[in-house]
Symmetry: C2
Amino acid sequence: MKIKRETYKDQVVHFIYKEILKGNIKPKEQIKEAHLAQTLNISRAPIREALKELVSFGLLEYRPRIGTFVVDMKPDDIYETYTARGVLEGYAASISYQSLSLKDMENLKKMCEEMEYLAKKKEDMKLIDLGDKFHQKIFDSCKNKQVVKLTEALSLKSHLLFSQYWPKLYTPSQIKERHLIIVDAINSKKPDIIEKTIRNHYTETGKKISDFKEKGV
Amino acid sequence: MKIKRETYKDQVVHFIYKEILKGNIKPKEQIKEAHLAQTLNISRAPIREALKELVSFGLLEYRPRIGTFVVDMKPDDIYETYTARGVLEGYAASISYQSLSLKDMENLKKMCEEMEYLAKKKEDMKLIDLGDKFHQKIFDSCKNKQVVKLTEALSLKSHLLFSQYWPKLYTPSQIKERHLIIVDAINSKKPDIIEKTIRNHYTETGKKISDFKEKGV
DNA sequence: TTTTGATTTATTGTCGACAATAGACAGGAG
DNA sequence: CTCCTGTCTATTGTCGACAATAAATCAAAA
């Protein structure tokens, strides 16, 4: 068993992230250190560190001497976040598809089926988690740690977006199909195809979310 | 005139970066907060913040409850950093080459010439700066702010590496040629070519540096 | 000698207080 | 009324001290 010794800072990071996810803190809202410190009954030092960390993940925005705010993502930001992730994950997969075994591939296929199932049952959180696992399985096999790190940083952000919007954008069967396409691409064992397919996957979703946010389409 | 009001933290970030660049702080070395605070005659708070920031840029490495250390890049890390940057900058250029005017292109060409000149005169620092400007010109035109931000984060790291190794790796004329190839690629106005060319540019340099570090070749 | 355990030390983690400042507000001049 | 100016307030920036802990040291036991 792995023993975890989370510092206050780590717990605060987690806390704020969940608050944003739950909508208890809204975009553009300022997060006041003193206030949060009082709420959690700790000093401002660990709070500050947590804020800085979340800023580096792009979830918060910092204006010197003014404060830290929850980012308010414009449609463009959303699209950009998704395409950036597509670029990184696409590359990651294209150089590491070989390290995915037949068993892994079977597994990915099963995940697609299960996504459909969860989507039908409207098990939002579980679906998100599974989607995350799916993509993680793919880019975690990438040997380029630098790329993995950058992708992970972006994933927090896209994760947040997707959890808000997915049910309005895709039907359960679409979700399955869209991910099966990725599995097929990987099976083709052609790096170019793999990279392009994954890039496309994200670009599409990014466009869809940003369009939805812009015009409610 | 723009008035700058750097906080202590910002100055410390700058200070540490230069110290690493100058070799006054070496890889694997621990940066002790209290010690640095005393040296600079300020308290530990801004120091800590600076350290965290540099960690997020990948220049320092943080081990909880133990300390912050200058990263010691293994050949693999170097190669990975470069390829990651190539992936991002390549993509950036491929979607934004159109916003580079004819004048910009002329300018880039001139920069290539000047690189050769500076390399011959062994004006290391100026060369580095110019190289930076060259690449920045390219990826700054990219509308995807997300990609730009990620690229910038990586650039600090690759910058540091390149400044150490470049003279051992390329002759002045090679430096010119390698960058001219990029200019030509952009002139072709074919996104695929542009992306591939830039990616290659970084992959090659990454390989070269990591090989050099590994075997002194 | 080697291992174990206690003790010390150096360093990070956290704290509460004070300083500096951006933004809000009020009052007065034109 | 509008604009400027000074004052006030809320919030971040910095500070020095103390707490917790990882690593080094040393002593004792096997």
